[in-house]
Structure formats: structure tokens, C-alpha cells
């Protein structure tokens, strides 16, 4: 029973990621694409968690943290770039 539920959820997540990728490709503006990419990263975390249940291993659980951190940093960098045109500001005093 649990196995069926997990496989079904993997399928649902795959559909969700396809929908998000549609938005990444089409999205009229760059922030649209960034939002969709962020959601793709968050969905990847879920897929890794489910895969490690299916494969019955703990080896992938570090990757959850890594993908979460990288997705967050990617979003922050993109939004800083969009807003200011630079990512690391050199001028600290204004």
C-alpha cells in the first residue's frame, strides 16, 4: 500500500515539475522564471526524499540539505542581480 502511494506521489511530483518547466520556458519575465526555478528546486528536495524511501537508503539524505541551500542561495542571487545589477556590492558606505 505504502509503496503504491509513494510511486503515485513520485508521478504527481513529476507532473508538477513538468508544469513548472513549462513556466520556466515560457514565462514572460525573468522573475517568473526565477520563481518557477525555485519551485523546481524545492520539488527536487521532495523527490530525493521519496527516492531514498523507495531505495531504502540513508545515503541521499545529505543531498536534501544541499539542494535546499543551493536553491535558496540561487534565488537570493538572482533577485539581487535583477534588482541592483550586481551581486556583491563593493561600496559599503552608501
Amino acid at each position: 500500500m505504502l509503496e503504491i502511494i509513494i510511486k503515485l506521489s513520485l508521478l504527481v511530483l513529476a507532473i508538477a515539475m513538468l508544469a513548472l518547466i513549462y513556466r520556466v520556458i515560457k514565462g514572460p519575465t525573468t522573475p517568473d522564471r526565477v520563481i518557477a526555478l525555485d519551485a523546481v528546486g524545492v520539488n527536487l528536495v521532495a523527490i530525493v526524499a521519496l527516492l531514498s524511501i523507495v531505495l531504502k537508503t540513508h545515503a541521499f539524505l545529505e543531498i536534501i540539505l544541499l539542494i535546499g541551500i543551493i536553491a535558496f542561495i540561487g534565488t537570493v542571487t538572482f533577485s539581487k542581480y535583477l534588482e541592483k545589477g550586481v551581486i556583491i556590492e563593493r561600496e559599503r558606505d552608501n
Binding site: V45, V76, N94
Partner: protein
């Protein structure tokens, strides 16, 4: 007892997957960046948090392995997702992405106009500085 736990795991995982699906449909269906952000930053987060909770329960009860990394990921996602949503919508607003044409009210535009009328000299100075920097 085992049956209840198994039911809980299945419930969490299924709810999480469905919430992710709803978030993805919201991202496709809603009309502009800001409303899409509502769907993406809320539903996707709770969906993934549910799935992580389900995975944690699975590893704890059926395999007897207390995995603290899942809890860490849970807490991390919970803390960062509102911040990410706020940052990207702010960047979208300041880079000039328009609101949906049926939007009714925009207080930020009004206040920004007021502010820029108030210190236009300041703005000019800033622009000069920016030009210098870009050179």
C-alpha cells in the same frame, strides 16, 4: 500501532505531493508574477515539508533510524521560503514588472513617487555616482 504510523506516512506524502501539484498549477494559471509567487512560496513549501515529515516518520518507525538531517532540512525550508518569496517579488517590483491589469490599488507606486519628488537632488547624485561606478 504500525498501521496507524503507516497511514500517517502515506497521508503526509500524498498531501505533500498534491500540494506541490497545486502550487505548480497555480504557477501556470495565475496571471502575474506577484500572484504566482503566492502559490509558489506557500504551497510548494508546505508540500515539501509534509513529504519530509513523512520520510522522517518512515525512517524513524520502520527502519529505526533517527535522521536529524531531515529535521534540519525541514527547519531550513520553513525559515527560508518566505524570505525567498519576499526577495524575488521585491526584485520583480523594482525591475519594473507590471502588475496584472485588473489590479485595483498600488500604494507603493504612490509612495515611491512622493519620495522621488521629495529628494530629486539626492536621486540625481546617486545616478551620477552610479554612472561613475559603471565607468
Amino acid at each position: 500501532m504500525n498501521a496507524i504510523i503507516e497511514f500517517l506516512i502515506g497521508f503526509f506524502i500524498l498531501v505533500g505531493a498534491l500540494l506541490s501539484l497545486v502550487a505548480a498549477f497555480g504557477v501556470i494559471r495565475l496571471p502575474d508574477v506577484y500572484t504566482r509567487n503566492h502559490a509558489a512560496s506557500k504551497s510548494a513549501t508546505l508540500g515539501v515539508m509534509c513529504i519530509l515529515l513523512g520520510a522522517f516518520l518512515y525512517f524513524y518507525h520502520l527502519e529505526g533510524h533517527f535522521n536529524s538531517r531531515l529535521i534540519l532540512g525541514f527547519v531550513f525550508l520553513f525559515m527560508t521560503s518566505p524570505v525567498a518569496g519576499h526577495l524575488i517579488s521585491r526584485a520583480a517590483y523594482h525591475s519594473g514588472v507590471p502588475l496584472w491589469n485588473k489590479s485595483v490599488r498600488d500604494d507603493l507606486k504612490r509612495d515611491m513617487k512622493k519620495a522621488s519628488a521629495g529628494n530629486k537632488d539626492d536621486l540625481k547624485k546617486n545616478n551620477k555616482k552610479k554612472a561613475l561606478v559603471s565607468k
